[in-house]
Amino acid sequence: MTPIHHIPEEELIAYAGGATTEGLALFVATHLALCPDCRAVVEDWEAAAGLELEDQEETELPSGLLDRVLAELDDTPLPADEAPPDRAVLPQPLRGYVGDVHELQWRRLVPGIRQVVLPFQIDGTPLRLFELQAGLKIPVHTHTGTERTLVLTGGFTDQAGQYGPGDVSFLDDSENHVQVIDPGEPCIALIAADGPLVPRSVTAWLLSWFVTA
């Protein structure tokens, strides 16, 4: 199964050109590891940039530049990349930042929700890894900015549909939403959201109080 909910092409273009912040690039590249379709889109834009490079107006090189480079060429091969492990649950590049599932330094927020805070923000909203217990219902809430979610394990369902591994959900502040974590295994997701939960009901308010406290 490959993802059906993708990252908007504008952001893939920004990633291809190299305009994304480290936090956004981490989010995009982790989706790319799980999504062959979006990888192909990024490769197409890199190829378009390559054709642009071919047509680039040539500037005159300073004399001696080639000689300087030739003098630096060495015949020693690059050290080999560290071999990847045989198995992994969380994909690269995310795993390089937080470790794999058994190494995560979870902090419990409320019963059923644990988080790992990452040192990044996307558009001013903090990026975190969440683990949401199977079957958990996250009450009606809204956010003050865009909430973006990338599912890594398990899944959830909201009014827009079902989201499984690799799927990306975007919700803006006009949308009140209820998310139900799918039964079976816990849902681990990379989420950029602020607040993080602006409640619309007393239970949600209580949850929000616990989450932010």
Binding site: E57, L61, V69
Partner: protein
């Protein structure tokens, strides 16, 4: 037969035989273009020279990992130049690892799909070329120059909202164009 050097053969000669003559030809073709690309983000010529040198050194060192089935030479060299530009700005661009066991693999390419692939890539560029200049300019700033929409707005002295709506219009037109061909 044309006298144009074949970049695929040149990269292969560097990869397999550490062929310095082949590298010098490759340098003659790409270094001026790479320098032109780098000068788009920095007006500092001395710096652009240093970065061009770094790009071409990486071409030499990494030729062995170049996969002609995955990317054209120009694509590969663009990604190296882009990464040098990002490193020079002391920024980090996390990337996936193609050998990662957690990566969801692409479907294997059918024998004739490499040609399809090339056609599609030329189509993306052609579709950008068919856009009104203002829209194409904003997109090129993003996918080629690696500028944020905010930077593009500042450089072109436009409100950010205008730049954003140009991107939206451009994407809608591109989708039409690419689906219609």
């Amino acid at each position: 037969m044309s006298d144009e050097p074949d970049p695929y053969a040149l990269i292969e000669a560097v990869a397999l035989r550490k062929d310095r003559a082949a590298f010098a030809v490759l340098f003659g073709v790409y270094a001026p273009k790479v320098r032109g690309y780098l000068l788009r983000s920095s007006r500092d010529e001395v710096q652009a020279d240093e970065w061009t040198q770094e790009v071409m050194l990486r071409v030499w060192r990494r030729a062995g990992s170049y996969d002609p089935a995955k990317a054209a030479p120009s694509t590969w060299i663009f990604t190296i130049a882009r990464n040098v530009r990002i490193d020079a700005a002391r920024k980090v661009r996390p990337e996936l690892d193609p050998a990662d066991p957690a990566l969801v693999p692409s479907q294997p390419l059918a024998p004739d799909s490499a040609v399809d692939r090339q056609r599609r890539q030329h189509r993306v560029r052609a579709a950008v070329g068919a856009l009104p200049d203002a829209q194409a300019g904003v997109l090129r700033g993003a996918y080629f120059d690696g500028k944020t929409l905010r930077q593009i707005a500042e450089e072109q002295e436009l409100p950010l909202g205008t730049v954003k709506s140009r991107v939206r219009l451009a994407m809608a037109r591109l989708r039409q164009h690419l689906e219609g061909t």
